[in-house]
């Protein structure tokens, strides 16, 4: 028993640290073999992480598994503690899957300073895995911030013309939110007796509704910027357009998920009263719906295919927020599925646009035409990914958006109806682009000479397509694994809401009872007056 426990926590440890070792290794390998080395490391990490799928046992309840903890800064109560549960499992798998794909996708794209690039990619993987696996708020914050550094350099060094502007904007925008979150973390730490930064300890800290609302503001802003939730999204299109293809892939598929993950993992359980207060729910769901509609609208008029896809990311994240703030199992599961689905489909779309760009050195939709006959395979894959992005039944997008809409409909039917309109909008911006690029007649000579997918490109895209279809057709294994952890969060929110209502009611009835007591000279039944636990 003990040995198996050790070997399991060892598994998560190595998944987390191997990319860092790989990152250092890539720096010292000869230039020519840098990409292969990086690919090997990331593929190895992926293979290791696949075993998590079976090692993680949803039957053991909602807690962390494969957990391990070591004191890091003892005097300050900071520990290096990591673990995996039904929420982080999929984020970790997504990260380890996307990283080798992005690395393989950059083989032809990145031509200068290769060692630095691949080293940064692996370093980024390390930092993101750290975010998803840490169970200590201090550690979480450190990893959350450190992800900025490699992404800043990836956009800034290998990006397009306005790369520096985009990189700096990305950095400043996202660190604004996280710096306020730091104050929030430290406030909670002080409130909790300055003993520990462990998430489990933070959950026990009693906070009043006002405090929760303020802290919700600090944490929520950090994650809302990261997601990005409309109207904090303006850094995203810039970063996406300027970033090199692999950078965009990682950014869309993995980095944005840190924001939504933060909402699910931290905001909901930490501040159950704040998130269930009607104003917050309406505001957040409203922003989600607004993001879906406005960004669909903006996407529809983009001439640049990459920018169009960037805006669709914001729209998808709107669905995620909608699902999260439905505050029920269905909505939350939908949100989780969209997070995975978006990682697969948008990643694939960015890769495909990158492939088109490598062939034609342009991303303008109007410059392409009639590619379907020249490159049938590329067209097919593009169609599948676009369908997943729109949410056509049978693809992963449908499962997620459907669940999240049902969840939202249960609590806010109006919002859900408007959001459902967004699905139509998605078809409205996605299909004309596909028609223009692949089906319209356009007698450009270069299009006729375009090559179809190479073996490397097929290797990149196949796993993503498999994931899209699997999630679309048979999502049960995914949902089984995430259910216990999600249910626990929902229960927490529900309990907090109910006890709060009971307390509020009891305060009222207590007043009445006191009045009665004066008349009947009997004590009120104190046992009905429950204290709020959180």
């Amino acid at each position: 028993m003990l040995t198996s426990f050790f070997s399991q926590s060892w598994l998560l440890q190595s998944i987390l640290w191997l990319p860092l070792i790989g990152s250092a290794h890539v720096l010292v390998t000869p230039r020519s073999s840098a990409k292969i080395t990086a690919l090997c490391w990331s593929a190895f990490v992926f293979l290791l992480s696949v075993s998590l799928w079976w090692t993680y046992n949803p039957g053991r309840g909602p807690g962390y598994q494969l957990a391990s903890s070591i004191d890091w800064i003892e005097t300050f109560g900071v520990s290096y503690s990591i673990g995996v549960d039904g929420i982080s499992l999929f984020m970790i798998l997504l990260t380890t899957l996307i990283t080798p794909i992005a690395i393989l996708g950059s083989f032809e794209y990145i031509e200068q300073r290769e060692r630095a690039f691949y080293s940064l990619m692996l370093f980024l993987e390390f930092a993101v895995l750290g975010v998803f696996s840490s169970t200590d708020m201090f550690l979480f914050y450190v990893f959350f911030e450190i992800t900025l550094i490699p992404m800043y350099f990836i956009v800034g060094i290998w990006g397009g013309k306005r790369r520096i502007y985009a990189a700096v904007k990305f950095f400043l925008y996202t660190s604004f939110g996280s710096l306020l979150m730091l104050i929030g973390i430290l406030y909670m730490y002080t409130k909790g007796g300055s003993q520990s930064f462990a998430i489990s300890h933070f959950l026990e800290i009693p906070l009043s509704l006002t405090e929760q609302l303020w802290l919700f503001g600090a944490f929520g802003l950090a994650f809302a910027i990261k997601i990005p939730l409309f109207p904090f999204h303006t850094w995203l299109p810039d970063a996406h357009v300027e970033a090199p293809t692999p950078g965009s892939v990682i950014l869309a598929s993995v980095l944005l998920k840190m924001g939504t993950y933060g909402f699910v993992r931290i905001v909901l359980p930490f501040f159950p009263l704040a998130v269930s207060s009607p104003i917050v729910v309406t505001a957040l769901m409203g922003l989600g719906v607004l993001g879906i509609l406005v960004c669909a609208w903006i996407a529809a008029v983009q001439p640049d295919a990459k920018k169009l896809i960037a805006y669709t990311s914001v729209a998808h994240m709107g669905f995620v927020v909608l699902g999260i703030f439905a505050l029920n199992d269905t909505g939350l599961q939908g949100a989780m599925i969209i997070m995975i689905s978006h990682g697969l489909s948008t990643g694939a779309l960015f890769l495909l646009v990158g492939m088109l760009y490598e062939r034609r050195k342009t991303r303008n939709i109007a410059d392409f035409g009639g590619l379907a006959t020249m490159v049938p395979w590329l067209t097919t894959v593009f169609l599948i990914s676009a369908f997943a992005s729109i949410g056509v039944p049978g693809t992963s997008g449908f499962t997620g958006e459907f669940l999240s809409l049902i969840g939202a409909f249960e609590v806010q039917p109006t919002m859900a109806i408007f959001a459902a309109g967004g699905v139509v909008f998605a078809a409205y911006y996605m299909l004309p682009m596909i028609q223009s690029i692949f089906f319209n007649k356009n007698n450009v000579k270069e299009d006729a000479e375009m090559n179809d997918l190479s073996k490397r490109e097929i290797l990149i895209l196949v796993p993503l397509m498999v994931g899209i279809v699997w999630l679309g057709v048979y999502p049960k294994p995914f949902m089984d694994r995430m259910a216990p952890s999600l249910e626990e969060i929902i229960e927490r929110v529900e309990t907090a809401r109910e006890t709060n209502e009971i307390t509020a009611r009891d305060v009222k009835s207590e007043n009445q009872e006191t009045a009665l007591w004066i008349h009947s000279s009997g004590p009120p039944d104190i046992s009905t007056v429950k204290c709020r636990e959180c």
């Binding site: 005097t75 914050y141 550094i149 800043y152 790369r163 520096i164 710096l179 430290l186």
Partner: protein, 491 residues
Amino acid sequence: MDFTNQWHYLLAMAPEIVLIGFAIGLLLFGVSRDKSQDSMKNRDLGWIALLGVTVSAFGNGWLYASASSSSQGIVTVDTYSLLANWILLLSLAMVILISVPYVERQKLQAPEYFALLMFGTVGLMVMVASLDLMLIFIGLEIASISIYALVAIDQRSSRGAEAGLKYFLLGAFSTGIFLYGVALIYGATSSVNLVAIADTFVDGQSNELMLLVGTIMLAVGFCFKVSVVPFHMWTPDAYEGAPLPVTAYMSVAVKSGAFLTFYRVFSVYLEGAHHSWSEVLWGLSILTMVGANLIALTQNNIKRLLAYSGIAHSGYLLMTLVANNATSQSGLLFYLTAYVLSSLGLFAGIVFVSNQSETNVDVENYSGLGVNYPFIAFALTVFLLSLGGFPGTGGFIGKVLILQGSLESGHISLAVALVLSTLISYGYYLRIVWLMWMKDPLAQDADNPSSPTVVPMILQLLLVFTLVSVIYLGLLPGQWIEFVESIAIGK
């Protein structure tokens, strides 16, 4: 050792006395040496100075065993002053190391240069250790006069002379205010001894108004020295005009020494008047953090930029005085250590880029450094991030401690100001970072004779040492936090 007789008092000053001895030796040597033969090179003088610092540091370590937290004299040997001595001696040693090639290349008067650096450090050490306002004043003057001279030591540099004069005039003015404050405090409490002054708060036998005005004037005097907005005007000019290593010295040693004294006097001995000065310092702190960082955004000269960044750091440090609790005290000490190490590393890199002279001091000159000198650019990036307080570096842990301290005292406004100004500061720190990594080298650099070629060994060692320490403080800060938590100010 219990400091019962006067010999023991002398021993208590051993580190200072050693430094004075070596400095006077260097001066005498400078007078007596035969200039035509040039028997001894400037480089060797640097090593002698370094030897002096080492001996002094050993003396300091030896005193550590007999540190006590109570003392009656005018000088105290508590762990606080000994830690301050460590920080000052470390800064001095590293500045001497940066100076050696610089002094040689710029043909400065080496004996006087090194002696002045050592005298300045003695002044700062005396200041931190003293329990008597007059002695603090004397220490402050020893340090200041040495620095005035150092700023203007390059006789061929008109900017240096201008900077020296400006610094001197404004410094003399601030000294006047400081002395006026001391006089008023003496008038109110009839003592210049800090312990006695602290007692009058307990007894309540003091003239409230006179004491208040005196305290504020004393604070203004200190604010001048640590360059807090709006008393910072001299800083950018003096930093820009001074020789590079002297700029480094001012921004680390003078700032640490002056601030540590500031903290000792106000947080412990004038703590009784905390309510009256803390609000003033609260305002100054926010003004300094936000103002200095905003101005720094527009600077193109690296020395001026670092001057404003240094001013902003004074603002962060002031927060610890306003909060004034145990966490913020360890925050102050931790932050100062991280600040000193990152700044010194940064200046080592700047001295390299400037080719041990006063060229290439524009921010633009850092373009493409990452292509040509990846290690130096990497080290500079880490130092800049540490100054900005980014996770993984010592500066981050320092900032967290300061934030924590101010939250414990309920100053959420200060915490918010700190993080917002940190965000502003990313703006200019990152500018250097992107110039280094994301831009191509300037075209003229190829045939520019002043652009550097080889990295001197000393600078490399310095960079490695500071880099390792800054990352160590960032990743494994536990031991150092425990150490600074054990530091006590004698009462």
